[in-house]
Symmetry: C2
Subunit: 522 residues, 2 copies
């Protein structure tokens, strides 16, 4: 181990370096030690296996108090490395201190938020990607990293029924893996602004963007980061379009807003449509939105960029019978969904497909001298760094490729179908209990439900359910419609890889039991 008192190497001169150099004390094998990797991976997989097996009996969330984990760790980093021999101790700390302080997203009884699926081949894919350790920012910095991603996103585009114009083999389209749906929305909003400006040299102060009140909060976050809004309530350049009775965007209202903006000299440049909102799973009508955009374009000369955020529901489109809401998708500019939510690929893996890749890459590209290379200059290759915010990127296509090969299209279809069936059954159970209501249509594997007694009772119910920690749900507030006031509801989102029918039935028992406790007289 080198002493910290070693001479200040910044002052080294030619003479003393050459005299002083020797092979390092620590062999480089220590850094990439294949034998240790095999031993430690085996131990790590044993831990993961125990963890997976324990999920059946663990409470879904933790009773840990803020600061407990932080305080359990030493104040300072170890000065002397603990080395490979300490690895079993590291695993003990993980198992003893960290695992009990998690919310168990892979629990068979996790029905909160949306699922964040993992699977055996996906975990192996992440391991391989980490072990190979390449950077795919440019084609030239790892050709296979780029081309496997192009191929696998083309596969996916076909699997979910997107037209050929979204494939990398088309004249202007292609797919790319982004980290999250949030990043995809930001990239698309930026590309939309860029295209609009380029078309008619519009000053940015006149550009406006649109999404429904039910769009994910990442739309507003993207609007703030990109400079369209100063804060969440800044509606100078952002319009939140009212919902219709299905809690989807009212295309009629979108049309009105866009035409009114256009009449005032504003240029609508971006519409974020949602297929499967986070609250209730509602889907906006792409055809009507595209019609409104076409009409707007005739007034302004700029066709608004339509981005489809199908973060969660997109995986369901591998079922042909689920594609009704895709009608009109050939008229949108971009489409993103997260295999890391509901297609057995672990986070992060958002797949974005565009029909106009030039507008995207043109909006992002900055090429300093140190990134120049012959392949890029030939124009024959895809450089994914220009498709998103980050420069560096890892080999995420590997996990997607392994998952698709392992399960096949039919295996993934079956996986999704089962969850939808479970949600069907759950919905039927809720509807059969006179205390409960299902105030909006089930969407795929998402069921929103409430106690008829009202919001206060529903709030008590979810609090009780989640405090018992046998299952986990989250809540939302459904917006008002012409037919109903806004309503607090519980969300039952089926989709964890380990969830079986019995877990869904148990969830319903748990919910009923809690309802019994808070409503003893019903």
């Amino acid at each position: 181990m080198a002493a910290t008192s070693r001479a200040d190497i910044r002052k080294c001169t030619d003479a003393d370096i050459l005299g002083d150099m020797q092979d390092p004390l620590r062999p480089t094998d220590t850094y990439l030690d294949g034998a240790m990797l095999e031993r430690h991976a085996a131990l790590a997989c044993e831990l993961i296996r125990r963890y997976w097996e324990s999920l059946e009996t663990r409470q879904v969330s933790s009773e840990i108090k803020p600061g407990d984990v932080y305080r359990s760790m030493p104040d300072t980093a170890p000065d002397i490395g603990l080395g490979g021999a300490s690895f079993e101790e590291s695993l003990r700390i993980i198992e003893r201190d960290f695992l009990p302080a998690l919310t168990h997203w892979q629990s068979p009884r996790f029905f909160a938020f949306f699922p964040a699926n993992i699977s055996t081949p996906a975990v192996i894919g992440e391991l391989l990607s980490a072990g190979i350790g390449v950077q795919g920012m440019l084609w030239a910095t790892s050709p296979a990293c780029t081309e496997v991603e192009m191929r696998v996103t083309d596969w996916l585009a076909s699997m979910i029924g997107l037209p050929e114009s979204f494939h990398s083999t088309s004249r202007h389209g292609g797919g790319v893996i982004q980290g999250t749906a949030s990043e995809a929305i930001l990239a698309m909003l930026h590309a939309a602004r860029h295209r609009a400006r380029k078309r008619i040299g519009t000053p940015k102060s006149h550009l406006t963007s649109y999404a429904s009140t039910q769009a994910h909060s990442s739309f507003i976050k993207a609007a703030m980061i990109s400079g369209f809004a100063s804060h969440p309530e800044d509606f100078e350049h952002v319009r939140l379009v009212e919902n219709d009775d299905r809690h989807a965007m009212s295309a009629a209202r979108l049309r009105e807003l866009m035409l009114a903006d256009a009449a005032q000299g504003r240029i609508p440049c971006f519409v974020c449509a949602t297929l499967g909102t986070t609250s209730s799973g509602a889907s906006d009508e792409l055809e009507s939105i595209a019609d409104a955009c076409d009409e707007c374009a005739r007034l302004t000369g700029v066709r608004p960029w339509i981005h489809v955020d199908a973060a969660w529901l997109g995986s369901a489109f591998i079922l042909p019978e689920m594609r009704a809401s895709l009608r009109g998708v050939e008229r949108v500019d971009s489409f993103a969904f997260n295999p890391h939510k509901w297609m057995l690929v672990n986070f992060d893996c958002d797949c974005l497909f565009v029909q106009d890749r030039e507008s995207l890459t043109d909006s992002m590209s900055v090429t300093p001298e140190y990134l120049r290379n012959a392949a890029t200059e030939s124009g024959d290759v895809t450089d994914y760094r220009d498709w998103h915010v980050p420069l560096g990127r890892r080999f995420r296509a590997l996990k997607l490729w392994l998952v698709i090969r392992h399960f096949g299209v039919r295996g993934l279809q079956e996986y999704i179908r089962r969850h939808i069936e479970f949600a069907c059954e759950f919905e039927a159970l809720v509807r059969a209990d006179p205390r409960f209501e299902v105030p909006c249509e089930r969407s795929a594997s998402l069921v929103c439900f409430a106690l008829k007694q009202g919001d206060a009772a529903s709030k008590s119910l979810i609090e009780r359910v989640n405090t018992r920690r046998n299952i986990m749900l989250t809540q939302t507030v459904l917006p008002a419609t012409t037919k109903s006031a806004k309503k607090f509801v519980l969300r039952m989102a089926v989709g964890a890889a380990l969830t079986r029918r019995e877990d869904v039935l148990r969830a319903w028992d748990e919910i009923r039991t809690c309802a019994d406790e808070i409503q003893p007289n019903c």
Copy 2:
């Protein structure tokens, strides 16, 4: 395997579901199969081990032609899953078709760009994170994921000599893991704008941001995405400050530009300083920049946010003797560096430290009903989703924790020191050859050098070197100074985990041989 002709499940009614349901044909064990994980991880680790061992003899980059890998893969995804039995075939495809089509960032003779280090404990950390599969977007969605990250970033802040005010235990500071330095710059530029606007209600059209001409291209990219610039040459709200003779930002020129902007009613709100530029490793002077910002603040009432991008060089600050350029860091608002570049943590892991976390979280926070929870509302917890663009986040702190425990502070110091020593020796060798020059100071492990014969000769040299593929270098153009014209140079960036002294000596032999070939008469 379910047939695709199964009844359309969207039409299921309460009656037929309840009658029809049965336990799934495919047991859920298939999705999270611990025994298969162990078997496949062992095979995957054997592949990784073989790959690591092969790096000694592989050419650093690939001769593959654009499209070759894409065409080697089937046109469509497999309809029927190949299952676990196909895994060995998947590994064969990786080994036969993908690995030879990579640029080998982990090669001991990779001296291009900056390093992208991996290490055994980091790969294991990525495996564990993938296998545990939690989402750390909120404290409540996995407390340990957040608190381990807080602790480990606090460790790191101490390790690289940042003051206590950047620790999570301070009143207003804290650290967070971001994906990349690009994302950190974007987040900081956005937070800076937000803070400036909030302070004096400034319209955004008057805000300006600054970096040196030598700042990373991600500054311009962030300026475009955030709306400060329409394209890379749009200098309405962005100023690229000229460099001084060391290729660092001229603080005098920064001061002039900011004061001139202030005099015209503009509000300078953001300065991106660089410690260790990508071209030549130059470091901007934080004290002088902070002085200029203080002076500007006296005129405008808004102190510009100073962000330090130390993406590559930051790791070197674990050496006390390397901290001269950190002087004044207590006066900056944020500081980011990438352990994924040069601290043995595999990509992605950028660590960002701020002194004013409220401005950051306030600029990002949008809280829809479905993300509300008691812990957030108590104000007692850190919700990292408000610290960056993405919402979801994986348990990246695990790999950082395992690396620090394994190597310890001293082991990491030694790692960095060795690379600096190698670069010292390389520099001496270059200087000793009369055909070559070292036109700017070596920075840590980065040496820029050129043929005295001029740019054309240096270009021929790097082309020849990289075509032989025994080592890999990248190039840059050093900007003009008062003493020298701009110059095309080769960059020798030492830092791969497997690099030994003999690899550096071999690199020099290779470069000399190529120089002999292109300059036979010298």
